[in-house]
Symmetry: D2
Subunit: 135 residues, 4 copies
Amino acid sequence: MMMDRDAFSQWMGIEILSIKKGSVELQMTITEVMTNGFKIAHGGIAYSLADSALAFSSNTYGIQSVTIESTMSHIKPLKEGETIKAVAKELQLSGKFGRYLIEIINEKNEVAAVFYGTVFRTGKEWIIDNGQPTQ
Amino acid sequence: MMMDRDAFSQWMGIEILSIKKGSVELQMTITEVMTNGFKIAHGGIAYSLADSALAFSSNTYGIQSVTIESTMSHIKPLKEGETIKAVAKELQLSGKFGRYLIEIINEKNEVAAVFYGTVFRTGKEWIIDNGQPTQ
Amino acid sequence: MMMDRDAFSQWMGIEILSIKKGSVELQMTITEVMTNGFKIAHGGIAYSLADSALAFSSNTYGIQSVTIESTMSHIKPLKEGETIKAVAKELQLSGKFGRYLIEIINEKNEVAAVFYGTVFRTGKEWIIDNGQPTQ
Amino acid sequence: MMMDRDAFSQWMGIEILSIKKGSVELQMTITEVMTNGFKIAHGGIAYSLADSALAFSSNTYGIQSVTIESTMSHIKPLKEGETIKAVAKELQLSGKFGRYLIEIINEKNEVAAVFYGTVFRTGKEWIIDNGQPTQ
């Protein structure tokens, strides 16, 4: 499955809470090595979680999809030890492109970051196994 | 200095090639743990490098600046073992906000990703040591 | 009210279908002068409608709010004579910033464009009259 | 030429100051009908000028290119009567996509807005006449 071969998502300790066509819910915990000079998670951590959520949700149709454009707002600091979720929702899907909104939710159930991403659907197929693409 | 206390930038192996007011040039090498299911760098790696470049360049004035908004285009895949650079340029700076363009350059000297980011300048000061903010 | 003094929104023929705290629904019809060289609406038209929706929805709290950052995806062409809607939804609101998702819906009820915008809340107050800010 | 058939760009009074492969410089003046409730240009005006600059510069190669994604920062208010410029620069061009940075410059020669846009190159050709695409 996609997650099994994604070394960086595994390094982050990402777990898949749920997955279905066009959406996914992921979870991870901020560790010390993920923090920046302000002792909160480096901005790249929330982005990486969201980008994994985009990859996992957009690839559920069996068509290889790659992120081409993305926008992220950083709203609340994520602290070491905090467990965060990414909740992905498909806004639009057509032959060549798909657009997804992904909210990063903190432990207090607040929106801590918002990610909006566009994928390009290459047209190459892959096999779906247990709801996730294999390679 | 900022870099010394940024655990995640250190984990990525980021080196500062040059730094001056409003700009910075960073370098790092893609390792296996940074790759995704496609055996190329996870999208979060280029973003993390760019976001570090944004933090380092926008904080050179001694005013604490935090990323609030960012946009990233992923253009070319970054391969394991490849050494990449981030080149940050300040487009605009005012009292409360600053905007920066950061290009991720691959080993062939091509633009592999483009990051456009906005920082909010909190007004808190810190001491600059050797061109970098201390904390 | 805000709309009454917004000359460009009036020029576009924007109507307010509904408005409440943090959200708004607008409608307008594409006229010939709004088209570009491809005989479809110029990209600036969908953006202008969305930006009005952002202004109207974010200013419902009586705190002057201005757009600082925005992202727009153009998905489907909008034709001359077509009546389109903008549906704004507040994703996050804090003291200084608010983030909104605005979908542009075409006559076939499809998502024709997606706008994601961030406002800066200046702290200046104004009087709300009939759900809309006065000036 | 593209400009001749673009009714909305003509309505805005856009003039082409210079055009060459991948770049363009445009100029226009803010009129009263373009203002919003704050008596400054509606955010859609700067965006529309930038989007025209994106269309004109990306279509100089004779391959039909359409805006798919765009980001705009609004930095300084544009006043009625002010003459503004859009300066477009190509950051990256490949078979399917191109990325452009467009700065909106005010009368004081300050960066008043920044636009970052991505075009999809459809592969359809058209004839270039006097540096501009015909249709």
